[in-house]
């Protein structure tokens, strides 16, 4: 009897602590997850009372520096706004199926808003429609959700890959003096972001009659694969003037292959993402250009938009995050 009483007391105390904890700073709602259902319920009611917002950010993966930057920006915004942020990403990078179930989980959990970076524009539509049906606002970041069939997103925060790719390809073309042959290293076959970036590159190179795309091959976003593919392609096209890679990882693989072939700095190499090592390579002159897609701001603006929507403020249908080219100073 005594024991039951003390257990009940402790539980009540824990619940009380949750209460105060939440209303004060609100970062700790997950911390009490181990205690009984009673305290969980009290957390929820506390959240409702203090207007606590639970936002889930869903990314393509957490292994690429780009998405880590998005997460960091989102966390900063969440800290500033006092939002409970949950960050999810598929264990299999860019898995549409996993992203769908992560959206479903967030709906079931009763999240206030979802900030979504879809791996697949059209594949994610069923999940977005479910969120629409549950009246949970979806903030779309980076890669556009296909809204042609009626799925609704509150806003699209774009640094869209196509535009970023256009600017990189344009810069590369001018560095090539608008002539010479170029190799394109594609991302994973069928991946949306790869399709967009490669299209941006091709559309740019097409404008110049002097530039010829001699090969366009996949290297799966992967550094070691890119090194192998570049080594092979340099055999078939030894006089190539430039290499356009759909991300910095592959660009760095190309840099390794080119320098091993003794052509370091002689072949212009372009990438996207502005990863630390790519920037260093640009500074060193082994790489020509990369593009800072400003992942930090994408994440930050995503969470900010979610907060605005939940506060009943209006947001623009599309917002653009500033991207910038990174070239040698």
């Amino acid at each position: 009897m005594k024991r039951t009483l003390s257990v009940a007391l402790i539980a009540a105390m824990a619940a009380g602590m949750m209460f105060t904890g939440c209303s004060q700073d609100g970062v700790t709602s997950q911390a009490g997850g181990t205690s009984a259902a009673a305290s969980a319920a009290s957390t929820a009611s506390a959240a409702a009372k203090s207007g606590k917002k639970n936002v889930t950010l869903i990314l393509k993966n957490l292994t690429n520096p780009m998405w880590v930057a998005v997460r960091k920006g989102a966390e900063e915004a969440a800290q500033k706004e006092g939002v409970n942020l949950t960050v999810l990403a598929p264990t299999q990078s860019e898995s549409n199926e996993e992203q769908i179930s992560e959206v479903e989980q967030s709906i079931a959990k009763g999240e206030s808003a979802i900030v979504l970076v879809p791996a697949d524009s059209s594949g994610i539509v069923p999940a977005v429609e479910k969120a629409n049906a549950a009246n949970i606002p979806v903030i779309n970041v980076n890669t556009k959700v296909d809204t042609s069939s009626g799925a609704k997103v509150v806003t699209f925060i774009a640094c869209d890959n196509y535009t970023a790719s256009l600017s990189v390809a344009e810069k590369l073309s001018s560095l090539m003096n608008q002539e010479g042959s170029v190799i394109i290293l594609e991302g994973k076959a069928g991946a949306q972001s790869s399709v967009d970036i490669v299209k941006g590159a091709n559309d740019t190179f097409k404008k110049y009659s002097g530039i010829k795309v001699v090969a366009s091959q996949t290297a799966d976003w992967d550094r070691s694969k890119a090194m192998t593919v570049t080594q092979n392609l340099l055999q078939a096209h030894p006089d190539v003037k430039a290499i356009f890679a759909a991300n910095d990882e592959m660009a760095m693989g190309a840099v390794q292959a080119v320098s091993q072939a003794g052509k370091a700095g002689k072949i212009l190499i372009a990438g996207l993402d502005a990863n630390d090592d790519a920037k260093k390579a640009v500074d060193a002159g082994t790489m020509a250009v990369t593009c800072d897609k400003n992942g930090h701001d994408q994440g930050y603006e995503g969470v900010e938009a979610a907060v605005k929507v939940l506060n009943g403020e209006s947001v623009d249908a599309t917002m653009n995050v500033k991207t910038s080219l990174y070239t040698k100073k």
Binding site: L62, T63, N64, P65, W67, V68, T91, S93, E186, A189, G190, A215, S216, Q217, T218, D220, D222, R223, S224, K225, M227, T228, V229, Q231, N232, L233, Q235, A236, H237, P238, E249, M252, G253, Q256, Q260, N275, D276, D277, K280
Partner: protein, 315 residues
């Protein structure tokens, strides 16, 4: 006599396929039959796949499988990268081998002592280890090693690349162990009939345990060479190696049934894979088609193997 010829054709079918591929590419593809391209394939691209594929082959020989080689390679190389980046190359190499060996030992322990199925053990281990690498690296990477470390992979002795020398050395050691020692005979025996081997007084647990430890060491060695070659260590490396290793083993002609085949066949499998990839790049085969072609090739070589073995036994 006729039996002997057919037996030879069956035995060397992979070699014939390899020669046919080389012949075909030499006749049709511009830029294939140059000293530069051939040395690129043989000295730069095949060696790393060979090292890890030998590990896969060893486990398959014992009727097991090691699906954790790819993530083992990632963890051991990433841990090593911290040391190497701070200038401690020898320490990095030793720690990589230690990590690789430990993961292999855990695999071996779970398989022999806890009696778990190799497929499930190593599949799960793959996920656990990959998760640890992700946590360790947190989406960032370590790059810019000293040139003395990078030279381990980029350098050469005379005309022969270090990569080729190291992989051939490992190949010859393992080949000797498998073909000329009691240990090697036991490995094959375990794959053929583990109960009979056990009854004949061989400690089969030790044999199997050792195989997974060797796998771990090979993964770590390949991991070190990879980061030296790429001048960067990252958590995602090796995610798609498992399929490549299995393909090289299967194309080479080591069946999943165990006890047959060997690393000398896997060497051919590796060369076939690398030459096909090289040929597809040179010919500009579209990315959508490349995977399908690889898949078709595995099936084709398995069928040839099957027909060959049927022919040989029916005579």
């Amino acid at each position: 006599m006729k039996q002997k010829i057919l037996h030879a054709v069956f035995k060397y079918s992979q070699l014939l396929i390899l020669l046919l591929i080389i012949l075909y590419l030499a006749l049709t593809t511009k830029g294939f039959l140059t000293a530069d391209n051939l040395s690129n394939v043989i000295m730069q691209q095949s060696p790393l796949l060979l090292i890890i594929s030998m590990g896969m082959t060893l486990s398959i020989l014992t009727k097991g499988i090691d699906l954790s080689i790819g993530s083992n390679l990632a963890l051991s190389s990433c841990v090593a990268a911290f040391f190497i980046k701070s200038g401690n190359i020898v320490g990095g190499i030793l720690i990589a081998l230690l990590v690789g060996m430990l993961i292999g030992a855990v695999n071996g322990f779970l398989i022999t002592k806890a009696r778990l199925v190799p497929f499930i053990t190593t599949y799960t281990m793959d996920m656990v280890v990959r998760g640890i690498v992700y946590l360790l690296m947190g989406g960032s990477l370590i790059f810019g090693f000293s040139s003395s470390f990078c030279n381990i992979a980029a350098g050469s002795v005379g005309p022969i690349s270090n990569l080729l020398l190291i992989s051939l050395l490992l190949f010859l050691i393992l080949l000797f162990a498998l073909k000329k020692t009691t240990y090697g005979r036991n490995v094959y025996a375990v794959g053929c009939n583990i109960n009979a081997t056990e009854l004949s007084g061989v400690n089969t647990d030790n044999v199997i345990f050792s195989i997974y430890v060797i796998d771990g060491l090979l993964a770590a060695a390949a991991g070190l060479l990879y980061i030296a070659r790429l001048n960067a260590a990252e958590s995602t490396i090796g995610s798609d190696f498992t399929m490549q290793m299995m393909a090289a083993t299967l194309i080479g002609g080591t069946p999943f049934s165990g006890g047959k085949g060997g690393i000398e066949r896997t060497l051919l499998g590796v060369l076939i894979m690398t030459f096909i990839a090289n040929g597809m790049n040179l010919n500009g085969v579209s990315s959508q088609l490349q995977e399908a072609i690889f898949g078709a090739f595995i099936i084709l070589s398995l069928i040839i193997d099957k027909i060959g073995s049927k022919y040989a036994t029916n005579l």
